[in-house]
């Protein structure tokens, strides 16, 4: 017998990880906008132009899978996160529209849309981190838990800046790339602080997580995760300035490792200590119908996503983005 809720947990997790990495780099590029000159801003935006629509679609898929596969959790989670979700949505709307409108605007209008693009990216990133922080603690009340969520919000922004900066290292050259290398180093320091605080904080705020991690001798095996994160971190630092693609690959690896750690902490809960994936799962008839579609369509999606990244490979130059 196949365990459908497990399959859908993996699928939903993969979709959310894909979202965080993919939209993460373009949100990061958005947050870095004020640090660049006008010409550089145009190239930065051009580097994410063909991709950002599809990147955000992974969020719809992740939330869609939550809605479809775990309907009971969807209502509960989004109800508890009502205001940060609204803030994130306003942020995503602003940046999405600013992205289109800044290309078509001139003069101070373009400056205004640039500013809104930055503001929308930052608001959405902060809100996502805040949601993650609230989610990890199972929406526990109390000032300490809210502070924890704020720390996660800051940490996730740092992570997105790192992704954005290393993306730019990969996709640009010349003075902009030099700047991006410096941004990536700041991002790395920021991420180190964020990951350390969140990793130490999570066992403190959740007993369930504490027991899962500090249970000898399992703890020794689990140390693989933080140790490989540290090694990847060092690898990124060393390859910055030496390789164009390694820093971005490393940043993605950090996200994958952090995600695995988080998944281990939470499993089998979809809302920690309250609702397991089996409690929340939809009826098998719905899950089977979905699984058939996903199995057929997902390979195509992955295939043409690779195709798009192949078509738009190489360094971004200036000029008319629509040619």
């Amino acid at each position: 017998m196949i365990d459908l809720p497990i399959i859908f947990t993996v699928l939903m997790g993969a979709a959310i990880l894909a979202y965080v990495v993919l939209d993460g780099y373009d949100l990061g590029v958005g947050m870095l906008m004020p640090a660049a000159s006008r010409d550089e801003q145009n190239r930065m935006v051009a580097s994410i132009g063909p991709f950002w629509d599809a990147n955000e679609t992974w969020l719809v898929l992740g939330i869609g899978l939550l809605l479809v596969a775990f309907p009971a959790a969807h209502g509960e989670i989004l109800g508890a996160l009502y205001l940060p979700v609204a803030a994130m949505l306003v942020g995503l709307m602003l940046r999405g529209v600013a992205f289109e409108l800044r290309i078509k605007a001139e003069g101070w209008h373009r400056e205004l849309w640039n500013w809104l693009f930055w503001a929308g990216s930052t608001l959405a990133s902060l809100a996502q981190g805040f949601m993650l922080g609230r989610y990890i603690t199972g929406f526990a009340p109390g000032i300490g838990y809210w502070l924890f969520a704020l720390v996660v919000a800051g940490g996730l922004c740092g992570g997105y800046v790192l992704l954005g900066a290393t993306w730019l290292v990969h996709r640009t050259d010349g003075p902009l790339q030099t700047k991006a290398i410096a941004w990536a180093k700041w991002g790395l320091l920021w991420v180190a602080l964020g990951v350390a605080l969140v990793s130490l904080g999570t066992p403190l705020v959740s007993e369930t997580v504490r027991e899962k991690w500090f249970d000898f001798p399992r703890t020794l095996a689990l140390m693989v995760l933080p140790l490989s994160t540290l090694m990847v971190w060092i690898w990124i630092w060393i390859s910055l300035g030496r390789s164009d693609w390694k820093p971005f690959a490393g940043a993605v690896a950090i996200y994958v490792l952090a995600f695995l750690g988080l998944a281990y902490s939470l499993f089998p809960f979809v809302i920690i200590d309250r609702m397991t994936i089996w409690d929340a799962a939809a009826h098998p008839s719905a899950l089977v119908f979905m699984l058939v579609g996903t199995t057929i369509v997902l390979p195509f999606i992955i295939g043409y996503t690779f195709y798009a990244y192949r078509v738009f490979r190489g360094k971004v130059t200036g000029g008319d983005p629509y040619s």
Binding site: E56, G79, E100
Partner: protein
């Protein structure tokens, strides 16, 4: 509780109304772009290239508006209507997920190729991208209308231990009102897009009368509209017959028929008075109601008195008249335009088309209000009442987020329309 339901409905209604504006344009415009792009591929006429490049920008902007407002929708299903997913999630969820899987990624990815890839892929591949995007928008309409139609006329579901699940997915998807609703919406989108194309081209011609691209696209838009609007009249009539069969209370409300009778009159105009159960100052045509609704002057039409639950009369009555009235104006304008544009391009006609740029929005929104308010008090006919689906989000949270949405939407809509006018004013050169 009452207030929270009302606020939740108002907020969701605002969001979904704001969202539908953009797909309504993109579904139709995507196919028009396919035509522009293929004509350029065949003729290599720079005027068609200019046309394509101008309209693909309009498309990209409209699509982005649709994406960002659509993301809001995907969250609000859970936040505003948790009871909806709890009760019918096993049917509604997979249909939504299929939309994401089969349409959204396709559209978003190949729009990137369409926009930025003209010099990076072959001409044939670029044409294919345009077709894939248009196909994606239509597939997206397919799933969302399957779900909406199922909520209107549910079939194919069974209850297993009190849980609603799909017995037959084919019956769920191809429920009785689905073919009519899908065709009605696709035509609405085609008409809306052709009026946008005609209207913005007319606006350009008012500023630059000798622009050859704008003259071409004006004629193109007008001709498409002149074909699609009459088709819509026929499809709308068939859709009405279907609604009378499956949702008679909705029809009784939109025609303000208070009592069941044979040879029911048609109310052209009047003020529905729900307290007294009559229409004040009504202008009526005897027997025409039965004739139009059942295609038989003496047919019996069920009035509102026959239904325990029926929708509020005035909003449905008025929305229906706005939709039909707008449709008639659009029909007249499209045909007048077709006749006159063969010989000349008078300025008054350009002004008329420019003024009707967003007329499709008015008709489409009014049509959606008819069908959605017309389904009340049900969220899913006979299965789930709207009041039972609302969540326990506090009025304060709803109020705060609503303020945020209203301000954002107002600013976005204004910017969108200004930029569209500005883009088209500059033309394709």
């Amino acid at each position: 509780m009452e207030e929270a339901v009302l606020l939740a409905r108002a907020q969701f209604g605002l969001n979904i109304a704001f969202h539908i504006l953009f797909p309504t344009i993109t579904i139709g415009l995507a196919w028009l772009l396919v035509v522009f792009r293929i004509r350029y591929e065949r003729t290599r006429d720079p005027a068609w290239l200019g046309t394509y490049k101008l309209w693909v920008k309009v498309f990209a902007l409209t699509f982005a508006m649709g994406v960002v407002t659509g993301i809001v929708m995907s969250f609000q299903f859970g936040t505003n209507w948790p009871g909806y997913m709890n009760k019918v999630g096993n049917v509604a969820g997979p249909l939504l997920a299929y939309e994401v899987l089969t349409a959204f990624f396709l559209e978003a990815t190949f729009l990137g190729v369409m926009l930025f890839g003209m010099n990076k892929v072959s001409g044939r591949m670029h044409v294919a991208s345009a077709i894939i995007v248009a196909f994606g928008t239509t597939v997206s309409a397919f799933w969302i209308l399957a779900l909406n139609s199922w909520m209107q006329t549910p079939t194919g579901h069974v209850f297993e231990n009190g849980v609603l699940i799909a017995g037959s997915w084919l019956e769920v998807i191809f429920n009785p009102s689905f073919p009519y609703r899908l065709t009605h919406m696709l035509l609405a989108s085609g008409i809306t897009a052709s009026f946008v194309v005609a209207g913005l081209s007319a606006w350009r011609l008012l500023k630059a009368p000798s622009d050859p691209s704008a003259a071409k696209t004006l004629r193109f838009g007008v001709h498409i509209a002149a074909v699609l609007v009459p088709l819509q009249v026929i499809v709308g009539d068939l859709h009405g017959l279907n609604t009378l069969k499956h949702q008679p209370a909705k029809v009784a409300a939109l025609e303000a028929i208070w009592k069941t009778e044979r040879g029911a009159a048609l109310t052209l105009f009047g003020f529905p008075n729900e307290k007294e159960k009559r229409t004040d100052y009504a202008i009526m045509i005897p027997k025409a109601g039965s004739l139009i609704l059942a295609h038989d002057a003496d047919a019996e039409i069920k009035g509102l008195d026959a239904f325990k639950d029926h929708p509020p009369v005035a909003p449905v009555f008025w929305s229906f008249r706005i939709m039909v009235g707008m449709g008639v104006l659009m029909l007249v304008l499209a045909w007048t335009g077709t006749l006159i544009l063969r010989k000349r391009t008078p300025r008054w006609l350009l002004w008329a088309f420019a003024g009707f740029t967003f007329s499709g929005w008015v008709a489409t929104l009014a049509g959606w209000m008819v069908t959605e308010i017309g389904r009340q008090p049900w969220l899913v006919t006979g299965i789930l009442r709207t009041a039972d689906a609302a969540g326990d989000v506090s009025g304060a949270e709803l109020g705060a987020s609503m303020t945020g949405y209203v301000l954002t939407y107002g600013a976005l809509l204004l910017s969108y329309m200004v930029v569209l006018t500005h883009l088209s004013g500059k033309g394709s050169q």
